[in-house]
């Protein structure tokens, strides 16, 4: 054949194409990874699963914070195809207008991001990202919607968990959750739009311990964005791990009882187990039901009202309210006086009402008596001796030296600085030091007589009820304290290391006994100021305080203050009570309240029903 040679043209073409195709396939499938990424974009979806937050138990194993399942209706704009807005609005029971507005709201709500380099402003909103369109639907509500979602591409349901509080107590301790902000998302990739974060209380302080470990599920999605199945049989999936349960030192029954006692009153109760530093109850009154701030819907409904309420229910008074301590402060003054050697336990000072006012009582002949009778002139004299020790010939220089020393003592009692309790919103209180008065009066422009009101816990001195309860702890322990804390254990781990370290005051153990004897007499002896704090069969040691206070220059009713611990020789509870503008003295309202709390905690039940009724009936708000 003449043209037989042409067969080689064919053979060469076939083999050439075969080689070219093989090389291209090798490049695409083995060398180049970009098509694998593209395939991932097209067909795979990484879904993160957020575990429910850790549950919380009280000291007796009662579950006080749990989770409830809710549903979100999620939306991915890029996947929406030909949305029949009218039908969709009908499905979720909205108007078409509402649906349109919600779209705008989602886009605007994400805010804008200004690129610091280019100066360009872009929206944070991304059409390929999932956003909750409807949030916090109940199982009933979603069951109406979910079966019809296949008609509305780009929408799908998602399970979410929300907090549930079986006891409606301790809102200011537990805190609440709310949606993360864009900044929080940028800072921590744990969060995605719609995630919740602890906004206050221990939920905020222990955010990382609460949130657990996210799970990841890789799914194969179809061109219509339906889930087809798990990717490679779930080879790369990880399960979400809920954080281990958190146990609090809180006694929810005691907490509830305290909240009940303070009904119709502004004030606080802080009760601590002195041997461990665990906070047993931390009552802030008025307060709110934590279930009011669960989920966006309820937050939107209830938060503004709570915020506007003049009684400030959202304000954690025991942590953040700084009060003058009044006469309760005298306990510390007497301890410092003895430690500094300016008095002994048997020092006596006349009740000289010309320097500072006092009530009628015989002059105190000892520290014990002075505490028992709460003699103002006595502590004026003691504090004067502490501040003006004659270490300098100049009165003003001498006062500065003395006050410096005094403030250091106070700091060792956990005053004038923030206690590092495991909660947010703590205030440090005020313990004035020389620097403080230098700012007020000028350097060396002041001496003891200028600042004398600090001697009886008035004037510039301020502390929080938590700090005052901690003073009661120090009295109960005769000189040391664990930093008060809420969390007893996280899973199998005990409290954080900083709560296992004893803090010693600068006052030696031996000086506590006369003061504590005075505290016993305050409650149990005839001349004491807190006879209403007596409990049958238990020795209670306490100290009253009556705090004068002003709004502007208008004198208000006194605050009633009381600190105590009990039983005297084996203290199980240390407590501080503040009742604002109750009138009367510390013994009238705060002392019986404290004793009811002590009785409830130590004995498990309150037998003195008359006292209970007396407190429950008291109303200082209206």
């Amino acid at each position: 054949m003449k043209f037989e040679g042409r067969k080689y043209v064919f053979i060469v073409i076939f083999i050439l194409i075969g080689i070219i195709y093989t090389f291209k396939l090798f490049y695409m499938q083995v060398v180049d990874d970009s098509w694998k990424l593209r395939a991932q974009q097209i067909a795979e979806q990484r879904r993160e699963i957020t575990p429910p937050r850790a549950v919380v138990f009280d000291r007796n194993g009662k579950k006080i914070v749990s989770n409830k399942t809710y549903y979100n209706l999620m939306m991915v704009e890029a996947n929406i195809v030909d949305l029949d807005t009218a039908a969709f609005a009908k499905l979720i029971g909205w108007t078409v207008e509402d649906v349109r507005n919600r779209f705008k709201e989602i886009i605007v709500g994400e805010g804008k991001y200004k690129n610091p380099h280019t100066g360009k402003t872009t929206s944070n909103y991304q059409s390929i990202r999932a956003y909750p369109f409807l949030k916090e639907l109940t199982a009933d509500e979603i069951s109406e919607i979910a079966p019809h979602l296949e008609d509305f591409l780009g929408f799908y349901e998602e399970v979410s968990d929300m907090r549930n509080y079986p006891y409606s107590n301790g809102a200011n301790i537990l805190g609440y959750l709310s949606e993360v902000t864009q900044e929080e998302i940028n800072k921590d990739n744990f969060y995605t739009p719609g995630s919740r974060i602890g906004r206050s209380g221990i939920e905020r302080f222990y955010e990382k311990e609460f949130r657990g470990i996210k799970g990841v599920k890789y799914i194969v999605k179809s061109a219509m964005n339906n889930v087809v199945g798990s990717f490679e049989n779930g080879k790369y999936d990880t399960t979400a791990v809920q954080a281990p349960p958190i146990h609090l030192g809180l006694d929810v029954d005691l907490q509830a009882y305290g909240e009940k006692l303070l009904q119709n009153k502004k004030g606080c109760i802080v009760a601590i187990d002195p041997s461990t530093g665990e906070i047993l109850a931390l009552v802030s009154s008025p307060n709110y039901d934590p279930n009011l701030l669960v989920g966006n819907r309820k937050i939107r409904e209830n938060y503004p009202a709570l915020l506007k309420d003049p009684a400030k229910p959202l304000f954690p008074r025991p942590l953040a309210s700084e009060y003058m301590p009044g006469s309760t402060f005298k306990l510390i003054q007497s301890l410092i006086g003895m430690q500094e050697g300016v008095i002994t336990e048997n020092s006596g000072f006349p009740c000289n009402k010309s320097v500072v006012g006092c009530h009628s009582h015989p002059s105190a002949q000892s520290v014990t008596q002075a505490v028992q009778m709460s003699c103002n002139p006595y502590f004026y004299a003691v504090t004067r001796k502490i501040i003006q020790q004659g270490k300098s010939k100049s009165d003003v220089k001498d006062a500065a030296i003395g006050l410096q020393k005094w403030s250091e003592y106070m700091h060792s009692f956990g005053l004038g600085k923030r206690l590092e309790t495991d909660i947010t919103g703590l205030r440090p209180g005020v313990i004035p030091d020389p620097e403080y008065y230098d700012k007020w009066y000028g350097h060396h422009q002041w001496k003891f007589s200028t600042i004398r009101s600090i001697s009886i816990g008035q004037g510039e001195v301020q502390l929080t009820p938590l700090q005052l309860a901690n003073v009661a702890v120090i009295m109960a322990n005769r000189g040391w304290y664990y930093t008060p804390h809420f969390v007893k254990s996280i899973g199998n781990n005990g409290p954080l290391a900083q709560f296992r370290k004893k803090n010693y005051t600068m006052v030696e153990r031996k000086y506590f006994d006369p003061v504590i004897e005075g505290m016993r007499r305050v409650v149990h002896e005839g001349g004491g100021t807190a006879r209403r704090a007596r409990i049958d069969g238990m020795i209670v040691c306490g100290k009253t305080g009556t705090v004068e206070n002003y709004i502007g220059s208008v004198k208000q009713k006194n605050h009633s203050v009381f600190i105590a611990f009990a039983p005297m020789n084996n203290p199980k509870i240390a407590i501080s009570v503040f009742i604002e503008n109750a009138g009367g003295g510390g013994g009238t309202w705060a002392a019986p309240t404290a004793s009811l709390m002590i009785e409830k905690y130590v004995n498990g039940e309150v037998k003195d029903l008359a006292k209970e009724k007396y407190i429950l009936d008291a109303n200082f708000i209206n």
Partner: protein, 467 residues
């Protein structure tokens, strides 16, 4: 004729085995890609894999029928067979259109595509015509009739319209080339109109090698448009932007160099100078052609440019016009070396539906995704083996009819293979034609099987033929 031979005598078993292997691999891939967990049985005839089992059996039955009939009838009845398929192609134009094309004859799902069978009819008549003893390849009537045999079904198919089958019919032009049909009568007719005294062409190189030159020209033009569009940077020379056209020139240069080296070894001493000249001329001509194409493309008006870019798939529009190819490439490319495993395709399963037609025209996607490069290479080698085997069969025929028919089969298979796989890997525009023996579909399975069985039958009787 010896009629007492057994049915299977002289059957080319390698070709038959590859055929069976491809069909089974195709069936397995369809079963994986179109799997419906509600209908897990392979023999569930409501599903595509169940139906493919039927097509497979019907095809084998047709093959048996072909083997029972003496192969001589194709030569004898070439014209009636051709006219019959042309009639079908005419009738189909009066059928209601499905998906915009009047390509289906019959009712509902049981229809057939006459275009598939027209390939057989055309191949037979072409073989009959060019296989005539004493045919003159230089004759004007030869080239005209041969082209007419190809062009008539092509025009009818274009009227359906079915671009894929239309393109496949150009495969027959290569058969003309193999048989030495010269286009000189046509080209000389034009050239000799030029009124220059003393200039009279008797034979041209272009006319002799018209078909390869035509396709090389088309190939170079398309490649220029594809490659020259984007300028590029080399990491070796950072900051310098090369025009995309430079890449094209480089490829041509390398190709010519390789060609020159091959020719140097292949040619006798006397022709070594000619090799250099041919390589140089080829470089100048190809370079000039690509430059002209590139230059005129850049000068085109915006909307014309855009249209060409769209047709060639140059527009980067992964979710729009380029959707299919982009999804297909993602599926193939994500297969990796060993693939994702059988029934584990995530991009190209019918259920996820990212790659449309993943059980018919894009069947290579699920296969390549599940079996990776190793599987893809195996499939490419199988097809290459099959096509080269057909060429070997063709060249051992005594009868010109048999040889021409075999070349037609080889070219048709090569076109389907090249275009179908090529559109998954960016080398071909998306043209909807099936992968032979592999894709789901009754018409293509039956027509390709018949085509192959006729070849096998012709081959098995090759010694009987006297002419």
């Amino acid at each position: 004729m010896r009629q007492n031979q057994s049915l299977t005598a002289n059957v080319d078993w390698p070709l038959f085995v590859v055929y069976i292997l491809l069909m089974l691999m195709g069936l397995a891939t369809i079963y994986s890609a179109a799997f419906d967990s509600d209908h897990p049985s392979l023999f569930d005839f409501s599903q595509k894999y169940g139906k493919q089992v039927i097509w497979l059996c019907v095809s084998l039955f047709l093959g048996l029928c072909v083997f029972l009939i003496d192969s001589d009838i194709y030569r004898k009845f070439a014209l009636p067979i051709y006219l019959f398929v042309i009639l079908l192609l005419v009738i189909v134009l009066f059928m209601p259109p499905i998906n915009g094309a009047r390509a289906w004859l019959g009712v509902g799902t049981m229809g057939i595509q006459p275009a598939e069978f027209a390939k057989i009819g055309t191949a037979i008549l072409l073989a009959r015509f060019l296989g005539t003893i004493n045919i003159n390849q230089q004759n004007k009537s030869t080239v005209l009739i041969a082209n007419a045999i190809i062009l008539v079904p092509m025009v009818l198919i274009l009227l359906q319209p079915d671009a894929g089958s239309f393109v496949v019919f150009t495969a027959f032009l290569f058969v003309l080339y193999r048989e030495g049909v010269s286009y000189d009568p046509l080209i000389l007719g034009i050239l000799n109109l030029i009124p220059i005294k003393g200039l009279h062409f008797k034979q041209t190189w272009i006319g002799t090698h018209f078909i390869p030159i035509l396709f090389v020209t088309i190939f170079l033009s398309v490649a220029t448009l594809l490659i020259s569009n984007n300028s590029f940077e080399l990491s070796l020379f950072p900051g310098i932007e090369f025009p995309g056209y430079a890449k094209m020139l480089f490829f041509i240069f390398v190709f010519c160099l390789i060609g020159y080296l091959i020719m140097r070894f292949a040619f006798s001493k006397r022709d070594k100078k000619r090799a250099a000249l041919i390589a140089f001329l080829a470089f100048i001509l190809a370079g000039g052609l690509t430059y002209a194409v590139n230059y005129s493309f850049q000068k085109l008006a915006g909307h014309q440019k855009e249209r060409i870019e769209l047709v060639l798939g140059l527009r980067q529009d992964p979710d729009g016009d380029d959707y299919n190819r982009n999804r297909a490439m993602a599926a193939v490319g994500s297969g990796g070396l060993l693939g994702k495993g059988y029934q584990n395709a995530s991009v190209s399963s019918v259920e996820s539906n990212h790659v449309p037609e993943s059980e018919t025209d894009f069947i290579f996607c699920p296969f390549a995704e599940e079996w990776g490069f190793v599987g893809s290479l195996f499939l490419v080698l199988l097809y290459l083996f099959m096509i080269l085997r057909v060429i070997i069969i063709a060249e051992r025929q005594k009868a010109a009819f048999n040889r021409i028919y075999a070349y037609a089969v080889a070219m048709i298979l090569f076109y389907h293979f090249g275009i179908n796989i090529g559109m998954n890997i960016e080398f071909m525009p998306v043209i909807g034609i099936p992968l032979p023996f592999f894709s789901y579909g009754g018409s293509s399975m039956m027509s390709f099987s018949m085509m192959l069985f006729i070849l096998l039958k012709l081959d098995s009787q090759r010694k009987d033929v006297l002419n």
